[in-house]
Structures are given as structure tokens and as C-alpha cells.
Amino acid sequence: MEAVRNALDFSDFPRLDLIVAGSVGIAFIIFPLFPHSSFAMSTMIQFLMFSLYGMGWNTIGGYGGQVDLGKAQYVGIGAYTTAVMLILWDVPFWVSMPIGMFFSVVWSFIIGYPLFRLKGHYFAIATIATSLVLKDIFEVWDFVGAARGLEISPIKYHPPDFLRLIFKEDVYYFYVILGFFFIGILYMNWFRKSRLGFQLRSIKDNEDVARSLGINVHWAKVKTYAIATAFVSMVGSFHACYIKSIEPEDTMSLDISILIALMAMLGGAGSLWGPIIGAGILIPLKSYLKEWLGAQAGMVGIDLILYALIIMVISAFEPRGVWGIVEKIRRRKRS
């Protein structure tokens, strides 16, 4: 009961935050009612997906300070579980998604247990390594289509199919992922106030102190890693139904892992709004910059150069991201 109350309780935020968040939330809900381009719609869906990835990453990477660069493996597990189950046994999305989450969590325990003996960038690089290993396995595993991947045939199902999450119009996907998004925010709001959340923030502060306060540091990290994993896996399942075609090279690529981490860090790791702001900046930037600049001949890669520069400037001058700047200003105002 208290958990629900905590999840719904946003009262510790300044009023301004809530007004902004509320109006943006309402804008999202009514967004499809206005005339919009399909490009804007798919950018929005991407934004929501990456916000959710970022929220998941934020639990372990932001609150826990453990920079994880291997999230793509869980995107893969979620997406593959849903796709395989749908194609082979016609299992609806709403069943296969939790199963995918279960598989992801199991895998996260298997690798998380040894993984969290590492710290700092040794940990970060090890997460990349595990993700690449899993990708290599999927690339030769015939049951999941090996490198050819899997395709959810668009002609086999009759959209709109709410059970299997097969739609023709993006707007359905938009509302599904928006639902996940709001649930994700509530969950994160609960998480940051929960015992585990507090423990994790204490771990990020100082592991020895955390230990002496009775926190099983290793276990707390493994548990949180599992939560992060479940988030990512859930969106991975959605990704499978949305894109309808998955292959290791695309779904489990290192780029996705990096993008997830970069976005959360850019927005502000360790805050509720950080990953959302990060995704809100980078996803439209990526899409629209590319549309405006990248497609011009001779400007190849200019969008990514700009993107890299933003990342470099942020990391050099305000490693706590956009939200870090906001908080800094607020604190200065107060004192």
C-alpha cells in the first residue's frame, strides 16, 4: 500500500517541475490528436522507448553509479523471446513479454553475480564484453535465425491485434509505449524512494559506508541490475512487435548500449527526469539533424559530429548532465 502511495507521491519535487512534467505529459497524451507527420510520430515512439531504456539504465547506472554499457543484450533477449514465441507458438505479446523479462533477469543474475565484483570502468568494459559475447552466440544460433534474424510477418496477422501487438498505424504503438512510459515513471518514483533506492544511492556515495550501514552491497547491485534489465527487456519485446524484424547486428549492437547510457548521462544520471530529458534531446536531434544535415551530400556524419561534441562538452564541464545544471543553479539560488 505504502509502495503505491510512494509511487504516486511526487510532492517532494518543486512545483515548477510538476507543472512542466504535467504539461509535457498531457502534451504527449493529446499529441496524436493534432496533425502530425509520421516521422514525428516515429520519433516520439523512439523517444519514449529510449526514455524507458534510460529509466532502466538509470536505476543501476544513475542511482547506483555502475556504468553499464551492455544493455543491448537485454534488448535482444526481450525482443527474441517475444518474436520466437509469437512466430513459433503464436504466444501473445502480453504473455511473452513477462517471460522475456524473466529470461533477462535470469541471465542478469548469471552474469551480474561475477560482474559486480568489478568496479568503475573495468565493470563498464566487462558489460560490453558480455553483450558482445551474447551477440556472437545469437549470430550462429539457428533456432533464433542466427545472423539472418527473425521476422514477424506483417501479412499473417490482422491489425489491429491488441493481443499480439500488431498494428498498422503507429498511433496504437504510441499509446502502448506511452502507457509503459507512465508506469515506468511511477515505478522510478517508487524506486528512488524505496529502501533499495536509498541503499543504492548510498553505495554510489561510498561503498564502505554503505556496508557499515548493513547494506549487502553486492546483492543490492545485482538486484538493481535485474530491475534495470527487466525494464530494458520489456521495451525490447515492444521493439520486436514494433519493428517486426530483428537481427543480432541491429537489435543487439553496441551502438544501442552506448546510446542508452549516453542519453541517461546526458540528461542527468541519478535523477527521475534525467533519462527522459536526455532522450528528449538526443532522439529528435539525431532524427532531425540527420534529416536536415546528414542527407546533404558531403555532410556525411556531420550530425554525429555535433552529437559527439555535445557529449564531450557535457562530460567535461557538467558530468551530471542537464539536470545537474538545473540542480546546481537551484542550489546556488537557495544558499
Partner: protein, 437 residues
């Protein structure tokens, strides 16, 4: 404080509102919009440029009268049955990313309201893009993706002009069998036991692993022994262990599916390791690229590659020569496999529209299914274009065919590709066995 927050708020809302800005152009009657999705940036940007130039050239010919070109679309200004409507190409760049490809397809269909789609070179992207087209009932013509699976999905809105890997791989085995029967120009019949042992090395993404599977299949069917079949990581740092493995298999024929950098590295490593098979065959891609030739120089003499278009075709086919001239004026390069197929892809689009006389998807669908373009109107050496409308391969052009070329040193001392298969159009004697590096 407030000002900064307000700025943040403004940024967020702007990002949200960007979506509301709609580029909704009214449908102009005199224009037919074809969305073209190619890899214009990223790893395959070089191919993307060729593809784009090929498609643009075809559009130019369709939109203008070029009476001396013996092809229907050159005789009219625009599409005649649609009142001379001009073809307008809208290019999009998928960067080799299937997810992005699907997004772009939606954008083209819903925002730009294109009448049809052409693309996408990468089979993986063609897969997602064709799925979007299928859902929205928008016709898509594919000119250059060779994964067999694409036309085996029962799609009703997807047509492919190029032959696919299954045919190409079959061509190879036909060539091998031809060798044993003495059908190859300039080579006496070779006892089968001399070329019975095969080994293949394919890069392990979608395309390479497909090819690898096909080689396995056909080796069984044609009764060859596949001694070694390996998949390697694309963009590999080093291939010496792979090559050693191939060598150790004592194969007579080595088969590859590699992109450019791997193809170059593979041949370099073969050379360094002094591998000495009787036949080296590449499945297009890297083995056909100009960089492959210029980097490796004379040492590639004798290597075979499958392709759909060789500069030699120009000598056989008058039309190809004419188009090649135009293409060279435009880009400074000769037509290649990528550009010729992109050209043909768009040519097919124009023919379909001409036949349909309407831009309604259903009319286009009917026209495409009933289409026939005779081989003499094509730049590529096919018998024509006619799509299958039944069976397990829907929308596949049944009149296409592949070529197998061999790098040979010409009279001018330059290394170039000569046609060795099909046997009836071969342009030179085949070098057999491979002389070694």
C-alpha cells in the same frame, strides 16, 4: 533559476511540438513521387552513391525524350499514360540500419505520400521496408537485394527485378559442372575429382550466412564435397586463422561472400599464405568493387566473381553502351553492378506506371503482375523482366540471370573482368586452374 528552467521547459515543449510541423505537400497531378531508400551514408556510402546516380539517370531518361535510346521510357516525356507526368525521386538514407529504414518508409508513405518505393540495397533493410509497404499497401520494387528470403514471404506489394543469391550460387555450380563437361570456353573438360573439394568462407551477417547455407545446399545437390564451411566476423582485424583453416581443408575451390575490406584482406592473406586453390570465387560485393581491383592489382588475375553487370556487357549490348556513356558523363565512372541494377529498378517502375496508367496502388499492383519488359530494352544482360505471380516466390523476376566474371589482364595491360558464364556470352577464355599468386 526560473529563467533557466523556463528555457528547459521551452526546449522540451519545442521538442514535443516539432512533431506538429507537418510537411504535407499537396499531391501534384503532373508528378509521380517515388521514394528511394539507399545507404547514402555509413559503411556502404560508396555503393549508395552509385545506386543514387543509377536511379537518377533512369529518372532523367524517363522525364526526357531521348529518341536514340531503344527503350520505351526514353521515347516519351514523362509517363505517357499519365499525361506525361514526371517522375520525382525522393531519396532517403537508411545508413544500413533496418529500424531506421522502416521509419523512413513510413515517412515516405505517410508524410511524403509517395506512389511507390524503390530500394534498399541491403537485404536486411529491404526486409523491414517491404514489411511497412506491405502493411500500407504501397508497391515496392527492389532492384538490388539478393537475399532469397525476400520474395518467399508471400508479399503482394513487393517485386524484385534482380536475380537472388540462390540463382547466383546455382550459376556457380553450373559453371563447375560445365568445367567437368568441357563447356567452358578455352578449357578442356576437367575430371570432377580435381575440383570436387570445396571450402567456403562467408561473413557472418545476414547476407553471408545465407550464402553459406546456399553453398551447403547446392554442394549436396550437385554432389560436391564441402570440406569446410566457415563464417567469420565481418570487418575482421585478421583473417590468417580463417585462411589457414581453408588451406588445411585442401579444397580445390574456395568460395567467398565478403564485403570490401574483408575481401581485400582475405585475398591478401591468401596470397601471404601462398594458398593455391584451383578456383577462387567471390559472391559479388567486395570482389566486384573498384577498390578491390586497384588495391590488389595484378595478383587477382584469375579470380572469379559473380555479378549482374560487367563493363564487358557494354561491348555486347548496344543499349548498355549508350547508357554507360550517359552515366559516365554524369559521374565519371562506368556503370557497375549496383548502378545498373538501380537503373533497371527505376526503369521497371516507369514501365509499371506506364502500364497501369494510374497511381492507385491496386492498378499498380495489377500492372506489375502483368508486366513484361523484353531483354533488349534493359542494360543488364537479362532475358527481360517478368514477375512470378504464383508459387513460393511471389514477385520475383523470372527472366533475370547472373554473370560470372573473371579478372584477366587485358591487352592494354589493365586488369578487368571478362565474362565466363553464361557460356554463350563468354567474352574470353577462362583461366583454369588459378595460376597462384
Amino acid at each position: 533559476m526560473k529563467s533557466v528552467l523556463r528555457t528547459g521547459m521551452v526546449v522540451l515543449s519545442v521538442l514535443a511540438i516539432i512533431g506538429f510541423i507537418v510537411p504535407s505537400n499537396a499531391l501534384a497531378v503532373e508528378e509521380i513521387k517515388i521514394g528511394v531508400i539507399y545507404p547514402l551514408t555509413g559503411g556502404a556510402a560508396a555503393a549508395g552513391r552509385e545506386l543514387r546516380a543509377g536511379a537518377e539517370l533512369a529518372a532523367k531518361i524517363a522525364n526526357n525524350v531521348m529518341a536514340d535510346l531503344p527503350m520505351t521510357m526514353a521515347q516519351n516525356k514523362g509517363v505517357k499514360s499519365l499525361g506525361g507526368a514526371r517522375i520525382k525521386l525522393i531519396f532517403k538514407d537508411h545508413e544500413g540500419n533496418p529500424t531506421l529504414g522502416a521509419d523512413l518508409a513510413k515517412k515516405l508513405i505517410l508524410d511524403d505520400k509517395v506512389d511507390g518505393i524503390l530500394g534498399c540495397y541491403f537485404s536486411s533493410v529491404s526486409k523491414t521496408v517491404s514489411a511497412v509497404c506491405e502493411q500500407h499497401g504501397i508497391p515496392m520494387i527492389n532492384g538490388s537485394s539478393t537475399s532469397p528470403a525476400l520474395t518467399q514471404r508471400g508479399f503482394k506489394w513487393f517485386w524484385r527485378t534482380t536475380p537472388h543469391d540462390k540463382w547466383f550460387t546455382k550459376d556457380l555450380f553450373e559453371l563447375l559442372v560445365g568445367l567437368t563437361k568441357g563447356k567452358v570456353q578455352g578449357v578442356k573438360a576437367v575430371p570432377k575429382k580435381e575440383i570436387i573439394n570445396l571450402a567456403s568462407a562467408c561473413e557472418k551477417t545476414e547476407w553471408g550466412s545465407h550464402v553459406s547455407g546456399l553453398i551447403k545446399e547446392f554442394a549436396k545437390e550437385y554432389d560436391f564435397k564441402l570440406k569446410k564451411s566457415l563464417l567469420y566476423a565481418a570487418k575482421s582485424a585478421d583473417l590468417s586463422s580463417e585462411v589457414r583453416s581453408l588451406k588445411a581443408s585442401r579444397a580445390d575451390v574456395m568460395l567467398f561472400a565478403s564485403y570490401t575490406s574483408d575481401a581485400i584482406l582475405m585475398v591478401k592473406t591468401l596470397k601471404a599464405q601462398k594458398a593455391h586453390p584451383k578456383i577462387i570465387w567471390g559472391q559479388d560485393a567486395g570482389f566486384e568493387k573498384p577498390e578491390f581491383r586497384s588495391t590488389l592489382g595484378d595478383s587477382i588475375s584469375g579470380i572469379l566473381t559473380r555479378t549482374v553487370f560487367l563493363p564487358k556487357v557494354v561491348e555486347i549490348k548496344k543499349l548498355a553502351g549508350q547508357v554507360n556513356k550517359l552515366y559516365k558523363e554524369k559521374t565519371g565512372n562506368d556503370l557497375g553492378g549496383a548502378s545498373a541494377r538501380a537503373f533497371t529498378g527505376l526503369q521497371t517502375w516507369v514501365a509499371v506506371l506506364e502500364k497501369a496508367g494510374s497511381t492507385k496502388p491496386a492498378d499498380i499492383q495489377a500492372a506489375a503482375n502483368a508486366l513484361y519488359i523484353p531483354g533488349k530494352e534493359l542494360v543488364v544482360p537479362w532475358q527481360g523482366i517478368k514477375f512470378s505471380t504464383s508459387g513460393d516466390e511471389l514477385g520475383q523476376n523470372v527472366l533475370g540471370s547472373g554473370l560470372i566474371g573473371q579478372y584477366q589482364k587485358g591487352k592494354d595491360g589493365k586488369i578487368g573482368l571478362e565474362i565466363v558464364y553464361p557460356f554463350d556470352v563468354s567474352s574470353a577464355d577462362m583461366i583454369f586452374p588459378f595460376a597462384g599468386f
